[in-house]
């Protein structure tokens, strides 16, 4: 994260090998920790919000390490590092990792599928926000005639916009699929009314926000507004998901 700050100041001119290897090292530790936790639980370690957040972070860093093998795209680590850092801090919030009981929190296949799809959608939204951040950085430099707009290794803004749009679309599809599985999940003993569960209202709101963003983009209102929308939406998810999840009776019964 700290090294990324230097890269931002330098203007993403180099391959950022150091950053890549730092993230590779971090990923190796992260993978080891996940494997050990998985063995101790005897199942995939995505059983609570703490593990889910770390799984998203792991997905992002793994995707980056794969993409970063291509030297021209290695600079992406400078954008991924701050996102991963924020997610790491988020995961350490109190009460996200309660002691495991005799059974995991996701007890059947539908629950696992629901959680995985939702988490993957958040991963896609996260990567989309990274691309949006790159777009905003490059767009600002081009607007204000900064030399670093040309010198940086960032891709053209039109491509960044396309990538952001693609990731948001993928995220929305995954979120839709994840939410569609919800009715098939086992009900708690005293299920709250669907309208009374904050996480359902929150999920519908998030789904609607991303849908509106995409409609805006398809209607030709792309560019800066779309990038800010993508970044703002993911920030909203990061800032509110933790609280909403804890407030949800269906996810904490």
């Amino acid at each position: 994260m700290i090294y990324s700050v230097f890269l931002w100041r330098k203007g993403f001119r180099q391959d950022n090998r150091v950053n890549y290897f730092l993230l590779l090292l971090a990923c190796a530790f992260h993978t080891t920790a996940m494997i050990k936790r998985g063995f101790s639980l005897q199942r995939c370690p995505v059983n609570n919000l703490y593990e889910a957040t770390l799984f998203i972070a792991w997905t992002i860093v793994a995707a980056y390490l794969l993409i970063g093998a291509w030297a021209r795209l290695r600079f992406l680590g400078a954008f991924a590092s701050p996102v991963l850092f924020v997610m790491g801090v988020f995961a350490l919030m109190p009460a996200l990792d309660p002691p495991h009981g005799t059974r995991p929190e996701f007890v059947n296949g539908w629950a696992s599928l629901h959680a995985s799809l939702i988490l993957l959608s958040f991963g896609a939204f996260g990567l989309g926000s990274v691309a949006a951040l790159m777009y905003l950085s490059q767009e600002h430099d081009l607007k204000f005639h900064k030399l670093r707009a040309i010198l940086s290794r960032l891709p053209p803004i039109q491509r960044l916009e396309k990538v952001t749009s693609g990731l948001v679309t993928a995220g929305l599809v995954l979120l839709t699929a994840g939410l569609s599985v919800y009715p098939l999940l086992p009900r708690p003993k005293n299920p709250p009314h669907a309208g009374g569960d904050p996480i359902i209202i929150w999920s519908c709101f998030v789904w609607l926000v991303y849908l509106l963003l995409l409609i805006m983009r398809w209607r030709g209102q792309g560019g800066r507004r779309f990038a800010w929308g993508t970044l703002g939406s993911f920030t909203f998810i990061l800032l509110t998901f933790w609280g909403i999840f804890l407030l949800s009776p269906s996810h904490n019964s």
Partner: protein
């Protein structure tokens, strides 16, 4: 046996002297054969461009004997009778190898960091190689020079950026659009700089050019030269929905494009990015349009400032490049075979 360089360049000799020493490509193999037959050198490569003529030679003669003989050889080759003062420079190892590396990297070029010289150097080496005038030492030195040039290009900013207005415009376009292949360019006002800029965009794959000028005949003429089509000056706004890049250089005393006019046109274009290059003085495009979303406006001063920054940045990179070159030269000469090792002092300029 060591590598020596004798030659002249734009740093040391005016064009009137350089042109007298220039070698036609067809003549080079025979000249190298003559050099080797004379016993002055066992290997040789001749680099002859518009900015330099250099002879890279491997010789077993002591430098003090080799240089006057090589100089006389060059003078005889060209039947040059005028007196020479500081025009010819003479270098021995390690300076000769360092010089070769600098030439390959464009550090010794008139336009600092230019890459054309690397191609010319490769051609000169290939010619010598084909005719078996280069051997183990020059092969190794030239191959290393090409590697060093590649290393310098990737590790430093010496070759980054363009130092002309037209090339800067192309680079800007490449930072905005995913590809230039399907981009439509409009030239408003058929000036010389706008033509050069349009040509630079075409050379990078721009799809087509539309030319509009107050004198329609001139527009037709330029459109024909650029392989595009001409439209009447009153009609250029009608074509705007298809346009991605505008190069404007009319002599109009007022803005021909302002925010009020461009706003509705951007809606027609569904807000696709638009690059406006205003190289007219007085300016053709109101600077206010830059506040519109997806519009990127650059005037002649903006482009020139970027070109100047590039040049300044290249100059700042020189010491870094020289450091790399010194290290690479040391690595080539020190641990290698004894044949590459030489403690002879540099002669410097004659």
């Amino acid at each position: 046996m060591s590598i020596l360089v004798i030659g002249l360049s734009h740093h040391s000799a005016p064009v009137t002297v350089r042109e007298r020493f220039a070698f036609a490509e067809a003549r080079i193999p025979a000249t190298l054969q003559l050099l080797r037959d004379s016993g002055l050198a066992s290997e040789g490569v001749i680099l002859s461009t518009c900015n330099r003529v250099e002879l890279y030679a491997v010789t077993s003669l002591p430098a003090k004997e080799a240089f006057p003989a090589l100089k006389q050889f060059l003078v005889n080759c060209h039947d040059y009778r005028d007196p020479l003062t500081d025009e010819l420079y003479l270098l021995v190892e390690p300076q000769s190898v360092e010089h070769l590396f600098k030439v390959a990297c464009g550090l010794d070029s008139m336009v600092l960091g230019e890459t054309e010289i690397l191609g010319q150097l490769k051609q000169a080496y290939d010619l010598a190689l084909q005719h078996r005038h280069s051997g183990a030492r020059l092969n190794k030195a030239f191959q290393k020079a090409f590697n060093v040039a590649k290393h310098i290009r990737t590790e430093t900013n010496i070759q980054r950026g363009s130092v002309s207005v037209g090339s800067v415009a192309v680079e800007l376009a490449e930072k905005i659009f995913t590809t230039l292949n399907d981009r439509q360019v409009m030239v408003i006002g058929a000036g010389d700089t706008s033509e050069k800029t349009a040509r630079a965009l075409l050379s990078r794959g721009a799809h087509s050019i539309i030319v509009s000028n107050r004198s329609h005949d001139r527009a037709v003429e330029l459109a024909a030269a650029l392989g595009g089509r001409a439209v009447h000056f009153e009609d250029w706004a009608r074509e705007f929905s298809k346009i991605d890049i505008v190069i404007s250089s009319t002599s109009a005393p007022h803005y021909i494009l302002d925010r009020v006019k461009l706003g509705p046109l951007m809606k027609l274009r569904r807000n696709r990015p638009l690059l406006l290059i205003d190289i007219a003085v007085p300016r053709d495009i109101d600077p206010e349009v830059n506040f519109l979303e997806n519009v990127y406006l650059y005037n002649i001063d903006d482009l020139q400032a970027i070109a100047d920054d590039y040049l300044k940045q290249r100059q700042e990179e020189i010491s870094r490049c020289e450091q790399i070159i010194r290290e690479k030269t040391r690595a080539l000469l020190s641990p290698g075979p004894a044949s590459f090792h030489s403690n002879r002092p540099a002669f410097g300029h004659e």
